[in-house]
């Protein structure tokens, strides 16, 4: 972590991270404190010292005239900075004797992560004990069984990981558990939620995705309340669907339950970044009151059917956003590389520039399934209104209805992995399987902006 110069200086004196050192600078400044690892890259070799006041400061190595160890291993850095404190409850109350059993599967989200000071990495803290220590409220709702199955940033997710997560979820459901929670990084949580929605079209219990928009290394983190709400849904919700549970507004008041096929991260940083698009959320959860309020009729009720899992995804599917001036070779490239499906994020009602019509015709003739969605995000595809749309329909582009482009992409990946026939695939793309297509848009499914 230290650049070469800094590291040489320290190691030549036998100084290690965690030692208490006294550093003298050229200009006479003398500081004493604990040598810390860096958590960011610096242009000039610099060491970081934690003063007794708790402050960290940086001192450039080329200004140091003397550095001495005052005490070896003054502290062992436990690597838990900012991780949630162990929270003794206010009053000891009797826990309910019989509680639902919920599995919590960790994939690398920040529900209970710790900063590791040796490497600067954020490590998930994920034993059941650690979760209960950090969010004791969970223990009042359900017995939990926690397991960390992978530790990846959500941008590194891929269809293989979806399958891996899906298999473990299926294993838990088959063991008779009352609900499954998947802690997931927020960036691509919507994709994974959609993937499991298609994989588990018959489901006896809820599968709940949860994450946090403010990491758990801060007192204001949304992770604890999101987890409490997710636990409530997993343990007690009357429905059995794949959902995402996240904050409903900037306040810590209620969380929203979004259907996995309809949810989209709509903001880079707000707590309420997750929203249901082209529909209304499934339910509201009030974590303090421990209440779930249904906002619409669920697709499936809890314990009505046995699990039916088809956990397979096709990798050779692309999601391509059209932009003015886009060159046809981009489509040609995909076809030549053997892609089996392309979801296009077209303009408006579902259009692309004329220059793409020929390459798309070629793609379809080569058995590639091409599905049209809209980059407007809100609203439905209608390719009958303008001539470009009609041309696209005539060459065999499938209108993606009001599906989110991301959901259409995941769906196509699932469809192509689970059907042999292209015609079947095309039909499935136009059928509503798990709430991904909504044929009726009322006025209420579009946000009203606040001015």
């Amino acid at each position: 972590m230290y650049s070469e110069h800094g590291y040489e200086l320290l190691s030549s004196k036998g100084i290690k991270i965690g030692d208490r050192v006294r550093v003298k600078r050229k200009d006479g400044l003398v500081v004493e404190g604990i040598l810390l690892p860096r958590y960011s890259i610096s242009k000039k070799p610099t060491i970081v010292v934690k003063l007794d006041s708790g402050y960290n400061i940086g001192i450039r190595v080329d200004t140091i005239v003397d550095i001495k160890i005052v005490k070896k291993e003054e502290v062992s850095l436990k690597g838990e900075a900012g991780s949630p404190a162990v929270m003794p409850l206010i009053e000891k109350t009797e826990l309910p004797a019989k509680k639902p059993l919920v599995a919590i599967i960790g994939t690398g989200g920040t529900i209970a992560s710790k900063i590791e000071y040796e490497t600067g990495a954020v490590k998930p803290a994920f034993s059941s004990e650690e979760i209960l220590e950090a969010v004791p409220e969970v223990g009042y709702i359900a017995d939990i069984h926690a397991e960390s199955i992978m530790n990846i940033l959500s941008e590194n997710m891929n269809p293989e990981y979806w399958e891996q997560i899906g298999r473990i979820v299926a294993k838990y459901i088959e063991s008779g558990i009352d609900g499954v929670i998947i802690a997931h990084g927020t960036d691509t949580m919507g994709y994974t939620a959609a993937a499991l929605s298609f994989a588990f079209q018959k489901l006896p219990v809820p599968v709940v995705f949860v994450g946090s928009q403010r990491s758990s290394d801060r007192p204001s983190s949304d992770s604890a309340l999101n987890l409490v709400a997710a636990t409530l849904v997993a343990a007690k919700a009357p429905f059995a669907e794949v959902v995402v549970v996240m904050h409903g507004e900037p306040s810590d008041s209620y969380m929203l339950v979004h259907r996995g096929t309809r949810v989209r991260k709509m903001h880079t940083s707000r707590r309420d970044a997750f929203q249901t698009i082209n529909d209304i959320p499934l339910a509201k959860v009030y974590p303090f009151e421990q209440k779930i309020e249904l906002l619409k009729e669920p697709l499936r009720k809890r314990r009505e059917e046995e699990l039916e899992a088809k956990i397979k995804f096709e990798k050779k599917v692309a999601l391509v956003k059209f932009y003015p001036g886009m060159e046809p070779e981009i489509i040609d490239f995909l076809v030549d590389r053997g892609y089996r499906g392309i979801v296009i994020e077209g303009t408006g009602l579902g259009h692309v520039g004329d220059q793409l019509i020929e390459p798309l015709r070629r793609a379809i003739e080569n058995d590639v399934v091409v599905v049209m969605t809209s980059q407007t995000i809100f609203g439905r595809i209608n390719m009958n209104v303008y001539s470009t749309g009609r041309k696209l329909l005539s060459i065999g582009v499938i209108p993606g209805e009001d599906m989110l482009p991301e959901t259409a992409y995941v769906k196509l990946s699932w469809v192509l992995a689970n059907t042999e026939d292209k015609k079947d695939a095309e039909n499935l793309m136009q059928r509503n399987l798990v709430g991904e297509i909504n044929r009726r848009h009322t006025y209420t499914v579009y946000p009203r902006w606040l001015y």
Partner: protein
Amino acid sequence: MIQKKIDLSKIDVTKLGLKVGLEIHQQLDTTHKLFCECPTKLVDKGEAEWVVRQLRPTRSELGEVDIAALFEWRKGRLYKYFAPLSSSCLVEGDEEPPHELNAEAVKIGIAVALALNSKIVDEVYVMRKIVIDGSNTTGFQRTAVIALGGSIKIPSGKVIGIQSIAIEEDAARKLREEGRYIEYNIDRLGIPLIEISTDPDINSPEEAYETALTIGQLLRLTHKVKRGIGTIRQDLNISIAGGVKTEIKGVQQLELLPKVVTYEAIRQYRLLEIMKEMKKRGITEDLVRREAKITDITSMMSSSKSRIIKRTISRKGSILGVKLPKMHGLLSVEVQPGRRFGTELADYARFWGGVGGIIHSDELPGYGISSEEVDRIYDALNAVKGVDAFVIVADDYIKAKKALEAIIDRVVNAIKGIPRETRAVLPDGTTKYMRPQPGAARMYPETDIPPLEVTSRLIDEAKKIKPPLPHEKLNELVSKYNLSTELAKQLLRDVRIDLFEKLVETYRSRVSPTFIASLITSTLRALTREGVPTHNITDQHIEEIISAIASGRTTKEAAEDLLRFFAKNPESKIDDAIKQLGLGALSKEEIIEIVEEIIGEMKDEIKQAREKAFKKIMGRVMSKIRGRADGRLVAEIVKEKINKILADSQ
């Protein structure tokens, strides 16, 4: 037995081994906030959002948890944030990560550090300091040390060491507290502050005042700091020999500092005396833990006439009592003027138990509790009147129990010495318990903000705005502007010194610096004393007045009346003010006319008294002119006219 009352005249706190360190927090006048692009201004009105949050404690880098933080969470607190759109954005709302550290603020900080001979760090690390009272939406205050060491000389000649200089974000403004909700306005959140911490080199209340004054002056001389109530705040760390370093938060008035220091030294001294007395009486931790049993006396008190008791019982609350063995009389011992040891216990009961207050044996009978009832309470608690003391609390059972547990702990700690506390200052300079002192455990790195490299370019830029030291400035004011030392000193203490320099620069050739300085200092102060709402007077008002004098549209003599007018009509324009008050400067012809009129009435007197009549005539003329002309010019005309009459009469 110790005296119950404090005799202030008999305690010399400088003989108690007093050590004081100051932490001065001053808002910087930057164009935008420390971690976002919001303006640094406070607003109460206009479009706004409300957000409600809870905060949960987290662990420090070393794995420790701040007990104060944990405590607030356990209280089940909820925080309501008022977020005015004109002065806060998603960053203050903790809905967007912080932007990079505002370089302007760092530059000002470095400039001050240079003036204090402090050593600048090579890389600035922003830290998160856990503050879980809700005053920061994140649950921590972002703060960064930029320099270490240095010193400042105070007027007495003593040199006070500087420990560190930090740049940090100001907290949200507390609006009100209601039940489990605390409301804040987040307009102030994120305004840059400079924090200057001194070494504990201060040994008297006066030195504390002088140090704060001098550092405050230095900060103002940057011309980059905010002014007005609440823009500068002092925290103190105070200890006496055998005492403990106590943190006192939020002194806003400089004048209160010596009192705060004195009263805290006295508090520690008195607590040590109480400790000695307790030891003398043979009170041990063991004894207290054994005999201080919390007892429910609700049913026994059911027929009490006391309103507090009756109200509690009607609300299904409980009356709990605890015996404090051998503590008779000690609860009424004053630790600060008007605050007794019992008051300290009550603070703990309020904080840890959330109760309204306590009743103790040293103040009974009282509160409607009869002496018979007092006797029965002694009996019920197994206590002996005249030997033991007791405390009762009337509230919900759980709250009352927690309150009494906290009291038992506090009494046990009294045998050991003085507990480490953070205390809040009260308007009279006394203090009350705020919370236990947080440790360094509450600091961990802010990983969302990259460290800022202090480049030589940044230091060069800071050098350009480095403020002069106050005593250097004093000399400059005297030599460069010809101010009297007294006036220069007044000006140095004044928040408007930057305005003075700006006005002198522009108007010096036509309006004397001495006039501008005394208008800004003594004239305004006199008006404030009179009760004129001078807080309405802006820099622009003052500049307009000086400008009107410089251009001859009004006179120096009119300045005071114009200030008075602006204080009451802050929206007015200067020319309207001059017109409305009839304070326009008279032309020479008009002056001559007035002089001639008065001289005409007094011709005979002049002939008798000759030159001696001048004073009398001047008086009459000036009272008629009422500030509408320059006195020198009037005197010239009067003299000329008298001489003419005298010459004519010869």
